[in-house]
Symmetry: D2
Subunit: 367 residues, 4 copies
């Protein structure tokens, strides 16, 4: 498995750079017969598109996707689905000022040291614009999971810098540019972001994702656990520094008598385990929470090195998201969808003849 | 890649159940010529061995490892290293009482539903005793990383239930049964555990792991990131519900001007990124923190189902760790070692001809 | 995927050396619920066992298999199946004479150059005794394929050195030590082998393998073709230098009007394609033929080098098969079984919802 | 690893259909710093291009390649190399006549049965036009292998239907449309093909490929053998039904005293093993021979079924290669190049610290 691919059976391969001609991807392993059009993918791409509010990067990209293979007469054929998203609004000259200096906290330093050369234009391969491929692959997975198993995957912004956001409704999360599931807080978030932008600084965020309707039994022992693959998928998103499943870090201070989700014939009494036990789905909601660090490209002056190792000061202008977490919700949803689809196929491969002996309902979920 | 294997080039395959005849593993991809004896592995196995204090399970296992292949005249040959650890003190009768009921928060429920059958003896394949294989594989990786690159991997207990543990010294972490890096707190931890055990309950824990001396450049974009693989490896450890790299969840509330690690010719001014940028090692310490949930096998009565789906109450006696986190330190170290070794080999494969253009020292680390 | 593992979903990992303590393997991905005992495996191991006639190596091994995991109460659990076969009759002193010289045509030269060190005892990891692991893994696959799909996998010796062997009956192939499907030729083969052994030389062989009852649809485009995986599996068997599917090399001189298997509502009119079209099974018999080279360990004097690069003459005594092909039939069957099982699972994963639109019988097969 | 990808470290992913908008691929794992332009790839693509003589399909494609990522300022960056080749001359109407019938010997039958649907246009994903991706990926591998190790990979047509072709010179193989390494035979081949085309039939072919300059030590035991991966790569080429390494099937009738390549301080005395022993390169030429079956799309009437399972007669008009083997030489070279590059990287990963203890020259090669 190469570093630009992930998934064992639902396998996504990605290529492209921020200021190259295009991003593209190959989705392999999708079952045949799924109705699929460019629109299905476009709808999700539009959710992560830049330039959609003043709080995100002002780069203008239509992010129009072209499906190149794997779909015939409106349905997947079972062969590799290739797709392309052309870059339209790259402004490489914006990077002239920082062509020679490493942004503190940015991957341009490690790429330079690893590969021995430098592509300063927009972060090159390290740019978060690569997530366009993930969202496209996730759109296909979401559709199949919904149609085949009734799985619904949704996310929301749970914290923006210092601002915690109480969950109120999924509907609201779709109505504002923050994916904030709470109408009452939007004005506060806007003010917070306006001040942040003005200050030239950036902030982090927390995004929560939930998959409802996942059947019991997906995931594998010991290393192939569902939660292990979710953790890798989430941590592979640009800027993510932490991943929790279920109660996550709160589990540390819990007692076993509190944490262990009791079962009744009507269902589980709680979901501290976040829908995964022993690496295998329980049938409850899969609940994941991720921490995204503040953007490293900021206007404030910072001490750094140039490519000759000399001390310099850097101030990053150009167009950047002051909080990458704002656009991260559809990305995290997409990654969860890809992992779940991969495990749905893996489970069917090995356990296609097994019927889960017990039927348990799941009356409670934790958002 | 099967669910019981991990690693692309340093590949570990595991088998065994808690109450079967033995655990064993195969380590593939180890470079030839490494001096290796059973003692090198045994030393690490002894650190995670059960029965070593009253605060962990009283199961008595020598955990004696037998190397079956891949080593000739005291050195690795480059071929597959097979090894075996026999089970000696399995008491299957302890499980008679719970043979029919699912422990809340335990994987015996999901295994039953996934595979359609039940091995109630000691958790079967879901038992944390499987970590013996990880520790053995990690011992080999640790030795190679130390000899070849001077990498040092160490961990400690950072929190036990409600008890936070301040880091004071690595030496102390090796002197007490908790891996607590702080002599002053040990008595308090003992009292806490004695009370917990008496109450019949269990608690969670936080374990921190640090790799020092990792060269810049290990890790791959985009999905094959070093931190993504670390996240998967950590989340695959039994009971882990959260993983952080560097500042982790604290990044959310940080500003970019605080989080982004400034660089000077003398080195980085901080390490909020935990030694990884864009999925590639920076040359700073790799810092990882994990959350372990409380043990699900507790004496307190809990509502659950039996294998016929009927409501029952379960009280788990037998021998169990009241806090699996206490023995998790060597396991987390081992997983980090395996991932780093895998990426050391991967980096050498692709970039064996690259010399990092810049030399940067690294005067600061975060524990 | 490491070099000592193969298979994507039915994944076999192998370890052990000819004169080490044991061989062993891990089979991952086997569906749960399959009745399985050590006897099921032993039966196949006995078919490849050394010492069973004067025409093969006289090393005496019981090849007794011990199942260490993955089976509970007589059925597979779905978790990793670990097994062990102890070495009992290694005579390392036999190798003193050749400890310093490379046998022409033997892998001891390339291992020495690759890994920089030498394990002269019985070929070390390069010994064909490793095939014990393949046969064990294949025994499990054969059983599952037979029970789940009615697939029957059988092989026979088709040529022994200069002696071509006409196929007459499967029954006869099980009755003589050559796996020759022709009673009339056995005496001639015995005479041929007696003379060969006396001459101190060795010879090659051709083995054919057939899988009957494979459903249409197994295999994947483009690189994941069923025949590509079969080719790799066969070529990975010690001493194999050629692989054919269906008409194989005879296809070169065929016309399209002869080669292309016509179809009728009653079935295919021929099977020149060997049961695979475009990398996907047709529903006809899968027919494979392999060429095994003559054993490199022979008594006749040969020019070679020693480990210091000096010209020496080598004569290999010790116990060796004068024709490794004689014992290769169960090995080739096992490899075909493992590949088919892997693809059965892969097909079910992706196309579990597809019913092949056409029903076609298959009245003709080519042996 | 998905079915549309191959290679562990030099990993090629492919997409596209004969009558879709484009073919494309992603090459992952290429070392950074390699000078690379579209021209480097185009040169190889032109060698396999259709329409270059009257003996191959008359479809007119410029096969112009566009590099979309992974190259910056004329050098590889170390990140994924994406590329695209647009289809220009697809004539789907040619397929109207056969839209409903399966060509005997063609994959359209197995695809239909596997995936439950049918893309009749030009073979869809099963079309040999997919090899454009292989040749592009192979061009990069060839260049790197030549620059880094001095490896030279070349092939030629060794048999065309009934016509055996004696090897005379590499130069001549580049001068005629058959890749025939023998000027004297070209007129005969032209006559043979003219008659074949006129008859409406097709024929098979043999292609030989040789890699010179491969260092000793590439390849891995036991399943990861160099020859096993070569066998898979070759068998994955459309129409290939047989693969030989070195003496191949001739090994069967050889004696060990003939087959085993003797060694002298000046080098090996022969190369029956084709440059591979125990799955590891010997330092001699790697010699591979493949059998390609006759094209299944022929004008002669053939019995077959239509998509409703009814008996029909089919005559395939449209534009087809009467012998796919004629254009297979650059494809086979490309596959060998990709496999060798993958193993070069794998070897460097594990054995980067090993120096082969012995220096042996290699004065003899077998073509």
């Amino acid at each position: 498995m190469s570093g630009n691919s992930f998934g064992l059976l639902y396998c996504v391969t990605s290529f492209g750079e921020s200021h190259g001609p295009a991003y593209g991807g190959v989705v392999d392993g999708c079952p045949p017969g799924l109705e699929l059009s460019a629109d299905d993918i476009q709808r999700e791409l539009n959710r992560r598109k830049p330039g959609s509010s003043r709080h995100v990067t002002q780069r203008r990209e239509s992010d129009a996707v072209e499906i190149l293979s794997g779909v015939y007469e409106g349905r997947t054929t079972g062969t590799a689905i290739g797709f392309l998203v052309r870059n339209e609004d790259a402004r490489s000259k914006d990077y002239a000022a920082i062509a020679d200096g490493f942004r503190p906290g940015h991957a341009d330093y490690t790429y330079f040291q690893k590969y021995g050369a430098r592509d300063p234009r927009g972060g090159g391969r390290a740019s978060a614009r690569e997530t366009v491929v993930r969202v496209a692959a996730g759109a296909i997975a979401k559709k199949w999971l919904r149609q085949r198993y009734g799985v619904e995957i949704r996310g929301y912004l749970a914290q923006l810098g210092s601002q915690k956001i109480e969950f109120q409704s999924w509907d609201e999360a779709g109505r504002n540019p923050f994916f904030a599931p709470n109408a009452g807080i939007v004005a506060r978030l806007e003010k917070f972001m306006d001040e942040l932008r003005e200050s030239g600084d950036s902030c982090g965020a927390r995004v929560n994702v939930v998959a409802e309707g996942v059947p019991v039994g997906w995931g594998e022992p010991v290393y192939g656990r569902l939660d292990a693959d979710i953790a890798a998928a989430m941590m592979s998103i640009n800027a993510v520094k932490g991943v929790e499943i279920g109660a996550g870090f709160a589990s540390i201070a819990q007692k076993g008598s509190e944490h262990g989700d009791e079962m009744t014939p009507q269902g589980f009494a709680s979901n501290h385990n976040g829908g995964v036990l022993g690496g295998i789905s329980t049938g409850q909601d899969i609940t994941v929470s991720i921490a995204l660090k503040p953007t490293s490209s900021i206007r404030l002056p910072r001490r750094t090195l140039n490519t000759r190792g000399e001390a310099v000061t850097i101030e990053t202008t150009g167009r950047h998201d002051p909080c990458v977490g704002i656009r991260a919700t559809p990305i995290a949803e997409a990654m969860l969808a890809c992992v779940l689809m991969d495990h749905a196929l893996r489970h069917r491969a090995q356990c296609g003849d097994v019927r889960p002996p017990l039927k348990v309902e799941k009356p409670r979920k934790i958002n």
